[in-house]
Symmetry: C2
Subunit: 495 residues, 2 copies
């Protein structure tokens, strides 16, 4: 008996968890495994204390705990016994599936829903220089400003207002500041109540898809396009209809053709400002036609304008939403490129009846956003810090764009074609015939340069041109030079 | 013509949005409304400049913009004309539904999914003293510590690690710290990879429901119970089966009866530590039986242990999850009560196959958590600051619990019954026959005290006992005294 106890009772003095409870739980475990049988005696406290090398008082406390939790009975002058009224439990070995952690690897119950089409996060190869898909440079993220505001709010606004439950639509201050920011920067008229603050554009697309789509509905997307959005539509049960993308953006004629064929077109997803991945801008004439079609076929236009704030051409083109007279457009934006992708803040501007449902679903998911963060962001918008940061970032990124394009012209002419993007964070290049991007990527990776595959942007992989995206924004001039040199080596190694 | 222009073109000098673009957009608007017809001439720049009282260069810039965006043609020596190649748009008045903001109130497309059963956030009546449902006191929230860590990370760890995209499962540091915290405080063995960091317990319940439930499935909940969870299960398409709750927690016999009748019981949702709203603890004997039933009927047990860290009795009872040999239990916890409800951080511990799907769905919703916040939390767990704060908070809340219970004994004996809760943030009181809580609440509200209705905790309103929850944690002794005095007045006013 004592042997068993020694074998099963593990005392861990290194943890805070009280030793008397460790003993009690150990004994409960023995009962549950059927090793200590109902009605069986517990070892005398003095002996158990001696064997476990703990104070007897500790064992007594453990036994009292067992008694208090009605695992044991006390028989006069005969000591403590495993309670007979416990449900009779057959001995059970620890389940096969149990991992080292003690948590099972598999559930006993069925897990019905499988989340398909989604790749888990994979960190890039350590130490490599990275031509990413096009992200801002986190080294210039105005994080000090954010932290300053955050701390200020934390210390001064020490009220329930930002620490308790708040509006699921998001901070009222942030929505007010954002409303004027949207008007001043892109002529988009929206009142604070027309805005829902989300966790990045991602959540805005997710909420919209969940509210508007049911199984079998059709969503029209550009191919190549943003696979992150496609994942969301597919998971919502929708069918994707693919429209080609040319130098003037997504092809409106194909959209109309699809609408004539398909009866259940609910959403057309566009990135008019700089289409992902090709960075082309949707022409004014196509914009008007798209709105006309939306009106005629009663589909929703999701205008993903995540990088509006980053344009290097003379003047930005107005969002579709600013010309939407009939409630066809859902305008989606993001601060994840303004601050950093890791700071999850975005928004959607939409008609009341949609915004209401989206807000309630948002409340169901996580109740509300990060209030303190939203308040800090509101302050940075009001103080003009965001505008100043954007001016600075735009100057820097424009210059990096030019650096990369010049380097490509100088060193890789004849191996690839590309057009200089009006904005955004990446250049979309297409390799000449005979150059296999996959093999270039393999060579590059060995040489210390990670480049992403352009193939991921094609839903229909057969459409794939041998193109990839070269993100310039997060690399400084030296890094861009080094990266292009490595890319050149990788290409030359092919022959 | 010029009259029209004056009537429609509004120049706003107070905003950053360039005036030449304001003019251009105004003219585009006139074209879109059909007021400026295709082929029609634009007013001469000099005249328009004069009428709008702006520099002629600005008008020229606007016209160049229109031309660049192909809204206009230039005819030699005849000036600028509205492009004839524009799609012919019939004049459209601004849509009736348009709000003052310019955003439509209604969508043109159908909004199919309605989020029912969910009440939008409503702020409490200003100035009133509040007996809330049971929340921590945000006045003692360790927000300075959090802000300190946040700022430290922001300034020193200035790397991509916390500012770019990261693991959807949440910060590895936080999961590692949490794993040992869970073992040390409640003997729950879990490895970092068994944990998913969520935005409050809310998101953990949402993800679990979305993965495990499909339309028509059955979820067993206690009645009265936590309506926040019920909302999630109903929205997932499940049917609720209600089990009564007594002084030993949820009634296991009724759970078994339901399992015998219903074939599709997928989830049993329990709050074993302190059942919401009644604060009773699930007895050890019932815990074992619940696990037995889970094994027999292959349902999932959601163990919502959101307030484990707040127990005032000698020793906490172990979580169900620590005795789960077969992968039946999903253990859910939260930091929203440790720091503040507004800081959305929680977690779930579950078998790999479920955790994997939940993590991917989480990625689809908002990609990842607030990395910097998660890192800050990890530091506070590692430094022991959280444990110290919890000790302090427990002492304070235990004393406030006693204060409230004594006040109720002293001043309201004969009007209500209650049991002293072992932990948590509220006392569940039941009024004597003839005392209508609704009328008490009305009186109290006029007198300056807001009390919540206990009725919300009943899914089957007919089961409602005249009970309410009195949250003591967020009120200090003086406030508790004042609140009880007001409650007394409100009751006395009935007769």
């Amino acid at each position: 008996m004592i042997k068993l106890v020694l074998q099963y009772l593990k005392i861990d003095r290194s943890v805070q968890f009280p030793i008397y409870l460790q003993v009690a739980n150990g004994l409960i475990d023995l009962m549950r495994r059927g090793i200590l049988k109902p009605g069986g005696a517990l070892p005398p406290t003095r002996i158990l204390a001696k064997t476990l090398e703990i104070h007897r008082k500790t064992v007594i406390a453990a036994y009292q705990e067992l008694y208090a939790q009605s695992y044991t009975d006390i028989l006069k002058n005969r000591g403590m016994f495993v309670s007979a009224v416990l449900p009779d439990i057959a001995p059970r070995p620890v389940h096969k599936g149990t991992g080292p952690s003690g948590v099972n690897k598999e559930t006993l119950f069925p897990v019905k829903r499988k989340i398909t089409n989604i790749a888990p996060f994979l960190p890039a190869k350590q130490g490599n220089l990275i031509f990413n898909d096009g992200f801002p440079d986190t080294r210039i993220a105005p994080l000090e400003l954010l932290a300053r505001e955050y701390r200020r709010i934390a210390s001064y606004h020490f009220t329930d207002r930002f620490l308790m439950y708040g509006p699921e639509q998001g901070s009222e201050n942030l929505r007010r500041e954002l409303a004027s920011f949207l008007y001043e920067t892109r002529g988009l008229r929206a009142a604070p109540e027309d805005i829902l603050i989300t966790r990045g554009a991602q959540m805005a697309i997710f909420l919209t898809a969940q509210i508007l789509l049911s199984a079998g509905d059709v969503v029209i997307v550009g191919d190549p396009g943003y696979s992150g959005a496609n994942e969301i539509f597919l998971e919502a049960g929708a069918k994707l209809a693919l429209a080609p993308v040319d130098d003037h953006g997504i092809d409106i004629n194909s959209i109309e053709d699809i609408c004539k064929k398909e009866k259940k077109v609910r959403i057309v997803y566009v990135i008019p400002h700089h289409h992902t991945p090709t960075t082309v801008t949707l022409s004014p004439e196509r914009r008007m036609r798209l709105l006309e079609l939306a009106r005629k076929y009663k589909f929703a236009v999701i205008e993903d304008d995540y990088d509006f704030d980053f344009h290097y051409a003379s003047s930005p083109i107005m969002p579709l939403a600013s010309a939407d007279d009939y409630g066809s457009v859902i305008y989606i934006g993001s601060f994840c490129k303004t601050i950093a992708p890791g700071i999850r803040m975005g928004f959607m501007v939409a008609p009341k009846n949609l915004l209401q449902e989206a807000s309630l679903l948002r409340k169901l998911i996580d109740r509300q956003g990060e209030q303190l963060m939203e308040e800090a962001m509101a302050n940075l918008l009001a103080s003009g810090d965001i505008s100043r940061h954007l001016k600075k970032a735009n100057r820097l990124y424009k210059q990096r764009r030019d650096t990369l394009c010049n380097l490509l012209d100088e060193h890789l002419k004849g191996y690839m074609t590309f057009r200089v993007p009006d904005g955004g964070f990446a250049v979309w290049i297409t390799f000449m015939k005979g150059i296999d991007p996959m093999r270039v990527a393999e060579n590059a990776s060995e040489m210390g340069l990670t480049i992403s595959s352009g193939k991921d942007y094609y839903h229909d992989k057969t459409n794939w041109q041998p193109s990839i995206r070269l993100g310039f924004a997060s690399l400084n001039n030296e890094e861009l030079f080094e990266a292009v040199m490595l890319l050149k080596k990788a290409i030359f190694k092919l022959s």
